[in-house]
């Protein structure tokens, strides 16, 4: 009964980012990573944040996660300000960050054990459900170092889905994988997004990846990190990363990106 409740998709959350500014102090002075960034993400939306390195997109993701606090501005989730990490917003990092002293099952269980309303047996059932969802139920008792890079990220995905968050935050999770594995995971993540109804914020510097996954693609420019432009991707799902229509979107975004990176001063002058 409790397990059935636990496995039900919770309604996804709405995010509101309002005037978020973040500075970093380095030896050579203060660096503005994010400069008055504002936008909104609707419940159940799949949004990709794209930009070159240094545009603050990962910092913004950390702020939404509650791992870092902005210097000014605020993030609201369903109207409530985000001040610390929470199980309603799970993060997938670029490295799988799996715990090597636990097996696959132990890793997926880690977050579940911290949920107060589940006993041991129920935790195991829930973990098994998510391992099945990512296609790794046969590897429940494998050691982490025995898995390939793609399998590790699948375990990380199962681990972040297991506590049943309303928002899934993904920080370039596929950047270190080979192309073939990545394409497989594009399919998986679209399927899981449709099945589990999550709000997903996906950070990447790969324009094609963003066009393949996102309903919306938000373009950032660096120094300081700002929101520049937004693209709506109106393609049917599941999308194939190699399709011609997708390539058209990708090249439009790339052109826009190039404009901001090559001539940032001209753009700033126009404002």
């Amino acid at each position: 009964m409790s397990v059935q409740d636990e496995l039900k998709s919770v309604p996804p959350a709405k995010l509101f980012i309002d005037g978020v500014t973040k500075d970093f102090t380095t030896r050579s002075g203060t660096l503005r990573a994010l400069d008055h960034v504002s936008f909104q993400i609707n419940e159940g939306d799949f949004v990709c944040l794209v930009g070159p390195s240094g545009c603050g997109k990962s910092t913004l993701l950390n702020i939404i996660a509650g791992l870092e606090l902005p210097d000014s501005g605020l993030t609201l989730m369903n109207g409530k300000p985000v001040t610390k990490p929470g199980r309603d917003r799970m993060v997938m990092f670029q490295e799988p960050a799996l715990f090597p002293w636990l097996d696959v099952m132990g890793n997926v269980l880690f977050g579940l054990r911290l949920k107060p309303n589940l006993n041991k047996k129920e935790c195991c059932e829930v973990a098994q459900f998510y391992l099945r969802l990512v296609g790794l139920e046969e590897f429940a008792h494998s050691n982490i170092h025995e898995l390939s890079g793609g399998m590790k990220q699948r375990v990380a995905l199962a681990r972040s889905l297991a506590p049943n968050p309303r928002v899934l935050l993904m920080d370039e999770p596929f950047a270190a994988l080979d192309a073939l594995t990545r394409e497989q995971l594009y399919g998986d993540i679209q399927r899981i997004w449709a099945e589990r109804a999550k709000t997903i914020v996906f950070v990447t510097h790969n324009v094609r990846e963003a066009a393949c996954l996102g309903n919306r693609v938000i373009l950032f420019s660096p120094h300081p990190g700002r929101v520049r432009e937004e693209f709506q991707i109106d393609l049917p799902r599941p999308r194939d990363i190699n399709s011609v229509e997708l390539a058209k979107y990708a090249s439009r975004i790339t052109r826009a990106l190039r404009g901001y990176v090559d001539a940032p001063d001209a753009e700033l002058g126009a404002e």
Binding site: P85, G86, R87, F93, E95, P100, H145, S160
Partner: protein, 255 residues
Amino acid sequence: MKRLFSSTLFFIVLILIWHFLVLAKVKSPVLLPDPVSVWEYLRTAILDGSLFDATLVTIRRLLSGYGIGILLGIPVGMLTARFRFMEDTVGVIALGLQTLPSVCWVPLALVWFGQTEGAMLFVVVMGSLWSIIISTDNGIRNVPPIFARAARTMGAKQFYTWTRVILPASAPFVVTGMKQGWAFAWRSLMAAEIFVTILTGFGLGQLLEYGRDLHSMDQVIGVMLAIVLIGLLVDKLLFSPIEHFLHRRWGTGRT
């Protein structure tokens, strides 16, 4: 099987060389006893229970001192890794005292505690504590920060993160430190037992020193062999299984 055979053969040859050196009268038989007479000593010492009793006394002292070393060393190592202030104070002391050979604690222990079990315990704790602190500290500093971040996003609080993430993540280092601490404790206890003659218990070190007093080198070498064997046994029984588990889980080393 082949490894066992070649290893056994090696030791048989070694004992034979020893035997022939005695036959060739390189040293007086009083100074260099025959392997047979060492074996004779060990046999009688085992049969009359004196070797077993001495081992028991030594192991009891070792375990209590080493236990205190671990119980103090691991938390203190966690503190020096976590707080800058602790690193600059206790951490510096640990680093300094770790370089001090443990036998150097014996004179101080004798003056402070006299010929007592307390002196023994003090030397063993001082011998093992510092290296356990330092390797725990080192282990915790080597834990990738992303582990703690991942745990925080899953709702882990400070204490939970330390006990369930940072401590297990540093386990390979901590176990190495515990092993080193054991070796140091063992060395310092032998030094202490040789120098501190007390009546509350007759340990292996004292048995060794007694052999020297009696000028019976068969006893000295016999006890030395016993000490080596106990060291090997502890390594195989206590540390090998843990290390084997860590290697298998982490995928490090030979499997």
